[in-house]
Amino acid sequence: MGNYEIALCLGVVAPLFMFAVLAFVGHRIGKPTSGWVAVLGVLISLGCATYVLTGWLSATDKAALMATTGYDWVVLNLFGNEMPIEFKVKLDGLTVMMYFMVTLVSTCIFVFSIGYMAGHSDEVDGQCKFHRFFCYLSLFEFSMLGLLISSSIFFLFVFWELVGLCSYLLIGFYFDKKFASNAAMKAFITNRVGDFGFLLGLMLVFVFLQTFDLDQAAATFRNQYETQSGIFAADIDILGWHVSGMDLATLMGIGLFCGAMGKSAQFPLHVWLPDAMAGPTPVSALIHAATMVAAGVYLVARVFRLLTPDAQFFIAVIGCITLTITALIAIVQIDIKKVLAYSTLSQLGYMIFGMGVGAWPAALFHLITHAFFKAMMFLGSGQVIEGCHHVQDMRKMGGLRKKMPVTCWTFLIGVAAIAGVGIPGAHIGLGGYFSKDEVLAVAYERAYNWEDRFGGHAAEGGHREGDAHSAAPALRSGQVIFASGGEHADSHADAGHGGGHHDDPVLAGIAAKQHKIPKWMFWLPIIIAYVTPFYMMRCWWMTFMGKPRDEEVHHHAHESPLMWAPLIVLAAGTLISSFYMFRPELGEAAAHATQAPLVVSVDGEVPNKAQHELLGLSHDKDKDPHAALIGIVGFAWVAGIGLAILIYRNGLDLAERIRRLPLIRFFHWCLMEKLFFDHIYDTVLVGGTKWVLAQVSRAVDTYIIDGIANLLGRSTVRIAEFSGNIMDTGGVDGLVDAIGESTQGVGEMVRQPQTGKIRNYIMFGTAGAVLVLAAMIAVVLS
């Protein structure tokens, strides 16, 4: 094992060790110390991450580093062949970046938590749960980092479930509150629904690709596609449908993506995330904003090479729907954490959408920038909630900027980042300005320029990739790189490719297999890009600006250093992540991580040699993704933020008046009801599809609220009750009892001749004898 592998493993194990320490002796360690123990663990991880990151960035032969050694966990038997499930460290640019991001954000949040949980963890019965919180956090940290370094889809799944468990435990941390435990359960079960698909994908990978290793699986997939063997030649019967060839491959891709849908809370499994805000705020920041929910995007990035165009399109559609509906719901939320939750959902939608349109580096870039600023905002909201004594309703806040200056301004940075504040053309901007807009740029390419680019070559373009092209790493990766604005590119640094993409039949061939995306899938994200700044600014303004609306809340508000210091770190992280380091590395990682035979990764920008330097600015003036979109989205933030300020500058009155406008009122109601997803899940499963319409009207009734908890908790229970109580007692037992009773009945019957009267005995005896004799005669004569 190389040093970096060891470092990564150490970074994973350190929190686990702290988990064990806290689990066994946590209650003896006491209140603040146990928090610091956990911080120590995550600091070790951060150290490891930094070590690996610096080493990685300075390494020249990255391919050598990527070859890591594995350890056979178990050895499966597949069609008579041994197939080990290997635990191996995945060491590539993506892992390194994600690892670093996660440890950095975690460190901040851990530290913040010590301050935050001091006031939130004392429980009834004199039981202090402070250490338990850090115990769970450490376990989460372990699982999340484990997930990042897994090179096998199987272990991805293992850690995937573990982070789910931690999420469950942490959402339900205040489990004495009904809503918290409900939310925890809802989260876990919804995730399980997604994992069901994941498992299906896993099984397909197992049987057809015959390996769980990501790289090997990708290679096999590619090979099978080229020879039209394996999964492409299979024809299987699933639940009565015959699925074969490309469709099966698509099914595999969608199956794996189902996992991501659960974890990253994509439509239609998004319902758990807003409820997950029942957990302590640092948890929301860490798990439900920065890291775990992003794991879904990470998963898609990892299995990108196994996707087919149809699967990818499916991903894009799901992402597009999610980002739209959740952003709309975010507009009307009044709970500060709920706003952030829906905005998280929306941003995750952007990322998934990005993956779906092939914007691999852009989506991951957005993931990282989003992690920083969203974690920061969540912590900010935690600060507010803590300061306001557990008030989360923004209508009771207002004017907190004086009481909480650091929180206020760091939060504003977050708002700016998510809104994509920047100056088009000047290459000055924050977070989303680069990352989100790059996704949009790629979407634009896919929606408008795709056929122009490749269509012409689709017909004659060979489907096979020849060896001759293997010399060109960037192209072997199947990565399409272009600069925005319809100007194609170019001037790409790779000398071996001076000819550009047009002339490359291989690339064209691959690309031509992909659909042009419908135009609405470009325009919806654009519209939401206008909505986003609005609701974020609304949130900030309602909280920090204006006049205090609730004296008592305002009176108590305060900040504490343990809690605002991490905010500053994260604010710095937001700034750094927007410019430095991450984007070029991701672009480079894409070269390896996207070698897909069927789909292409579309790069919104061109990596520059100089960017390989740690401090090199990523955003090359000439390669600004906004070049083409400048008119469409470049100033979206101005419009959104402006409108928000316009409406909320004088308190809530104007907003209230608007809300009462006839049409708005209807929309508002719909959005307040979260577009009825919870209700729909409830009712669909309660009454069956034919009752859906009838039930939707009833859904207004407030008592049906609890979504997925009831999905299994009420509707299925009825089926279960039927099966458990009626079938078992009535059916099987009934049958057995009936047999028993009839046996007894027969017993009673055969006793009837025993009348006690000897004359009867003689008669029955004789009659019986005659019968037996008759039977004998019948047999003998026959």
Partner: protein, 551 residues
């Protein structure tokens, strides 16, 4: 001692049981603990044999390599040679250890006997308990079918009394139900026992040239009860598998398979013969529930592997589709039933039905991975379900009821216990990293892998995978209702799990994690050798039979 090690382990509990009849009342439980504890310690010595990497050396080149074999003639009629024939291989060894282990913990769990609602007859209780242990151990080590059957039935009576005398409200009903169901399964097995002997005699007479015995090396000339011989003798396998071999005008292998299967399916149990289980579990005292779930159910699975599939692979292939349907129904139906329960113990009991459905699914697809998964699932369930039952027992001792909906917030009043409960139930849920996951994953993968052979395998795997969601549903729901939520007034003063309780929970919890993290080192290494050979053997036989039918 060493050469009779297994016999010592098997009969030691019984000896202790007899001894305790003659000691003062206060010492009884200590004698019992000593008996089951010593059996456990001695069984650990067996690891010496199975330790090490060289699978071929440990498990042999063909199915039938045994260790610690003891053979002695037992009943010799004019034809029979019924032997006292015991031994261990990869199939029985893990289950053997599991049995001594769970029994020890169950014995420990019985230590609060005096505080039970029915606490008369402590000697009788521990005597029957130890007798039961002997019976269970005997089943796993017996390699003579007759001996197997005797041990199999020896367990019935102690279990009947343990449930019937020391059980809950409806103990009589539950006990007799258990008895009748189990006996119903085993009577047909008895016919199978007779038939297999005489048909094997016919077989060696029919094909004397290939009737070479694995044991003596010479051709076999008589019928046999030797389970290994029945499985490995070419003549017997050829004759059993042949389409022309019939009993009551039905093809022999499928019929015999069914005769045996019914008995094991009842024990496993799978739908629709599972209904004894919830009753038995709910009514039985906690330690007995632990034994029931931890060991008794495994006998069904063990029987599948050793007898049904070992001896009648052709029958297995014949019924595969049917069994898969039953298995999937068990998985889903068990989970749904679990969800519908108000009684905590009944919920765990139904979860066993669901989990054991995976075992059936794993074996019925007849793939190596499936077999391994089924076996692992048995071990894992043998760890997690006793734990769950004990967890239920702990609160039953305190609250004297098991109504899920009347609980709440127990984690607050009993944090240590709550943590163990979470661990136990998540292991049962099949969370990766804990023991329940590996078996399920293997079974699903094994089932999916059977796709080329059986059309329905993909569908079965997907349906079974959906069980994972349902499992999460009922487990989380019960955790939420019992352990989470605000603490109720009446349970505020509940004492935390005491030392004895933690002593039982801790090893189980540790094993839940250990098996989940290192499945290869803890379980697979000890059984894969035999399982792989068994599958090879099975495939060879079914191919021959298929070729014969085709020709």
């Amino acid at each position: 001692m060493d050469q009779h090690l297994i016999s010592w382990i098997v009969f030691l509990p019984m000896i202790a049981g007899i001894v305790l009849l003659f000691v003062p009342r206060e010492l009884v439980k200590w004698v019992a603990l000593f008996g089951s504890g010593l059996a456990f310690v001695l069984s650990l010595l067996l690891f010496k044999t199975f330790w090490g990497g060289d699978a071929a050396a440990i498990f042999g080149d063909t199915y039938g390599t045994l260790h610690h074999v003891e053979r002695a003639s037992w009943i010799t009629g004019n034809k029979f040679n019924i032997e006292y024939f015991v031994g261990l291989d990869g199939l029985s060894f893990p289950l053997f250890i599991l049995t001594t282990f769970v029994s020890l913990l169950a014995c420990l769990a019985s230590f609060n006997f005096d505080s039970w609602k029915i606490n008369k007859g402590i000697k009788a209780y521990f005597f029957l308990f130890l007798l039961l242990e002997t019976g269970m151990l005997g089943v796993f080590v017996s390699l003579d079918f007759f001996l197997f059957y005797v041990f199999w039935e020896v367990m019935l009576l102690p279990m009947y009394f343990l449930i019937g005398v020391w059980g809950g409200e409806r103990r009589e009903y539950a006990a007799i139900k258990f008895f009748i169901f189990t006996l119903a399964g085993s009577v047909l097995m008895l016919v199978g026992l007779v038939a297999m002997f005489f048909y094997s005699a016919d077989a060696v007479a029919e094909y004397p040239e290939i009737a070479t015995s694995y044991h003596t090396g010479a051709p076999l000339t008589t019928g046999t009860f030797d389970l290994i011989e029945l499985a490995t003798n070419d003549a017997i396998q050829k004759y059993f598998g042949a389409a022309s071999t019939t009993l009551l005008n039905v093809r022999f292998a499928p019929l015999m398979f069914m005769f045996l299967f019914i008995g094991f399916a009842i024990k496993l149990p799978c739908v629709p013969v599972h209904t004894w289980l919830p009753d038995a579990h709910v009514q039985a005292p906690t330690p007995i529930s632990m034994i029931l779930a931890g060991v008794l159910l495994k006998m069904g699975g063990y029987g599948f592997l050793r007898l049904c599939y070992g001896i009648f692979p052709v029958g297995g292939e014949f019924w595969a589709g049917f069994l898969a349907v039953i298995a999937v129904i068990s998985i889903l139906y068990g989970a749904l039933c679990a969800m519908a329960q108000d009684d905590f113990k009944k919920l765990v009991a139904y979860s066993s039905v669901s989990h054991m459905g995976y075992v059936l699914l794993g074996v019925c697809v007849m793939t190596t991975t499936g077999f391994q998964g089924a076996m692992f699932q048995m071990i894992a369930h043998g760890i997690s379900s006793p734990m769950c039952f004990f967890l239920v027992g702990v609160i039953y001792d305190r609250a004297h009821h098991r109504q899920i909906n009347k609980f709440g917030g127990l984690w607050l009043s009993m944090p240590r216990y709550g943590s163990m409960a979470t661990l136990g139930f998540f292991a049962s849920l099949g969370l990766p990293g804990l023991c329940g996951f590996v078996g399920e994953a293997y079974v699903l993968l094994g089932t999916f892998q059977a796709g080329p052979k059986f059309d329905w395998a993909y569908t079965a795997a997907i349906c079974a995978a959906f069980g994972v969601v349902l499992t999460a549903g009922y487990i989380l729901w019960v955790i939420q209702r019992v352990y989470l939520g605000s603490v109720r007034e009446e349970y505020k003063g509940f004492p935390e799990a005491n030392g004895r309780e933690m002593l039982i929970l801790a090893p189980l919890g540790a094993l839940c994690i250990l098996l989940g993290v290192l499945p290869k080192q803890t379980v697979f290494d000890f059984m894969n050798g035999t399982l792989n050979l068994l599958v090879d053997q099975m495939n060879a036989v079914t191919q021959v039979a298929m070729a014969a039918t085709g020709g």
